[in-house]
Amino acid sequence: MILFGATLLLAFLSGLPGLFMKRGGGRSAALLMGSSAASGLLAALQVLLGRATGAVALPNQRVLDWGFLHLDPLGAIFLIPVCILFGSASVYGLAYWDDHRENSRTVRAAFGVLAGFLILLTGAQHAFTFLLGWEGMALAAFVLVMAEDRDPATRRAGYVYLAATHTGTLFLFSAFALLPKAAGGLAFGPWTPGFASSPLGSALFLLFLAGFAFKAGALPLHFWLPPAHSAAPSHVSAVMSGVLIKMGILGLARLVAWVPDPPIWWGGSVTALGLASGVLGVAFALGQHDLKRLLAYHSIENIGIILLGLGLGLIGKHAGSLPIQLLGFGGALLHVVNHALFKGLLFLAAGSAAKAAGTRDLEALGGLARRMPRTSLAFLAGAWAICGLPPLNGFVSEWMIYLAAFQGLGRPHALWSVAALGALALIGALALACFAKAFGAAFLGEARSPAAVEARESPPSMVGPMGVLAGACAFIGFFPVLLGRPLDRAATQLAGAQGPPLAAMASLTMLSLMALPLLAGAWMLVRWSRGRSFREGVPTWDCGYTAPAARMQYTASSFAEGLMRGMRWVLWPVTAGGRVAGFVPRPRPFSSHLPDLVLDRAAEPGLGGAARGLGALRFLQAGHLPIYLLYVLLTLLGLFVWMVA
């Protein structure tokens, strides 16, 4: 597997030449990253489409024969979005984070290192390589999140991220320490049958779940994600949201593949986590005013959808039903790829808009569609896909998860399936509302601030990568059948047994066929409705009001207000002012804000209280050397006494 090695090396080194170059460092980094991405894609395709059947063992594909690194179909599925996203984001970064920034070299070098560690993780087959990649990824990402460390909000986001990721890693360290009891060693391999149901197996599962859910940003453990994603530069947010958090999913998927007989509560808890993350993630997204923060909450939502697929598959594995497993796992894995593509696209487009208009505040944007037509088209494509609307890629993966849920209806544990169905429908409708709000407020209507009026389209080096990602979204959406075989192999690895092909079970060809009347109809109708002459350049009618102003538009907050009010019992939004009284009321300011349920309402006050409580113990840390020595002496005495007693 020379290709995989080349991918790894090229990615690690991509930022290096730039450190020593006066100019053109960005180009060399993008070039190296691009070639790394190309070779990585080839490697992934080779594994996924190779002739070898029996998906797990591909003997001549071990990079190093000690079992540390080995790209299997499951890893290859994750390698694809890593390659596409890093390739396009590094090109995007050329203009977005150009050489005028003082830290552009550091950012590029860290970007390359992050890519390298992510690629390493996709091929990791041993606790050592996995944890190495895991820690390296966390630290490189920390450097990138802190790119704008002059801003106190960024620093706070960075530290919250660092604390969270290390807490997660702590869980993983304990889990991997227990792994030999289950798998007979630190190399990844199947667990002994029956171990999963033992108490130790349960503990191991919980530890893994906690560690991976932290990274993936599943709901109660998501709190680091929104601040980090909104603080990081947009091309970094794109890869963080697109692939970094997916490594938590990769870990869970590996866990699923190891276990031949998961108890029912495994699948149940993953599904429950998915339900909570999916529904609450999108609900919180709806209340955000910051475009990138909104997108970050949507990452939580999509992680929820992926977890739903994994959870349904696990329930299927418990029940021994191959169709549910393949559809659930296949849908989850495809959604991993899809979410990386469209979320990367959305972050890049949001970054482009924010850079042009100088703000990420939805209440200050507006009307960008006419000033930045390409960026807005890219954002629309991403929004279309993330809402799961046909015929783009988001629909395909959500559809497979729907089918998995429908398959589960006629079996025991049908309540999980129906809960997943209801949640998916709710998530779909809420996501639609949220992206109608985001796209409408930022790109449609009139500009709400002078800066937004001045916005201009971004350079081709930023638009191009968006085009690539949008093209990939459309490609998967229109020709999902081409992904049938690769997904089969990866899902088979998770299920542990060969089943009916996904392409047939999910009628993937029909999806391509269905896109046909949709597109043809739309094309004909556009022709028809533009056939007659029309008049342009008049003001919006607005029920006869003759001087509509940008301030009179419905704002993003108002758009979401109804839903926010409906869900206030779970979201707890904070509003201030806005009450008017009298027949001729004075102007009243109104503001609404949606603090994060976990970070702002639980973690921070809780940890703050703990810090104050533990402050009482600070006298122990007096700073006097003799006192410390006294502790040593007392400990020694204590030990002596203990020994004697």
Binding site: L625, L633, L637
Partner: protein, 211 residues
Amino acid sequence: MLHDLLIALTMLTNFTLVATHRVQKSIQVAAFQGVLLGFLPLSMGLWRHTHVLLLAAATILVKGWLIPFLLRRAMRQVQIHREVNPYISYTLSLMLCALGTGISLVLAHNLPLKPGDAHGLFVPAALSTLFTGFLLLVSRRKALTQVVGYLVLENGIYLFGMLLVEQMPLLVETGILLDLFVGIFVMGIVINHIRAAFDSTDTLRMAELKD
């Protein structure tokens, strides 16, 4: 019989160290203690082991001459001759030292040692020297006297090692000795820097460094 005498002397030097307030004298006493310990293996009739001989010579040289030399030089540089105002007064220190010695005797009696190792005074002496070292480290303010405490602490460990002197490889002992030397050498430099930075070698001022 001779080694019992040496050990008794060592224990007495502990009391002297705790009671003295002149830096010069405490360095002298510590050096004397080192020399006593250096002669200890010889007094146990271990002439035939060359490595023991080498070790004894090295100990006497390093503890009796090299380290006192370094300490005196440091003392001259920082111009400190007296330990005034320790955390624990001299009388109290003396009492604590006596208490430590008593505890050591009790502990040594009850410690689960190998029967062959219960070599009379060795264990209580080692423990009491250890405690004395700690006492000096904890109760003294001046960095220099703390270094002396460190030296005494190491002497206690050395004494403990005497129990195993026949089995212990030369490398380990010389390693410990080298460690001690380097430690004191570095401390000498550090003390100087502390004085330069804080205009005092009072370790209380080091608390300013804490976060």
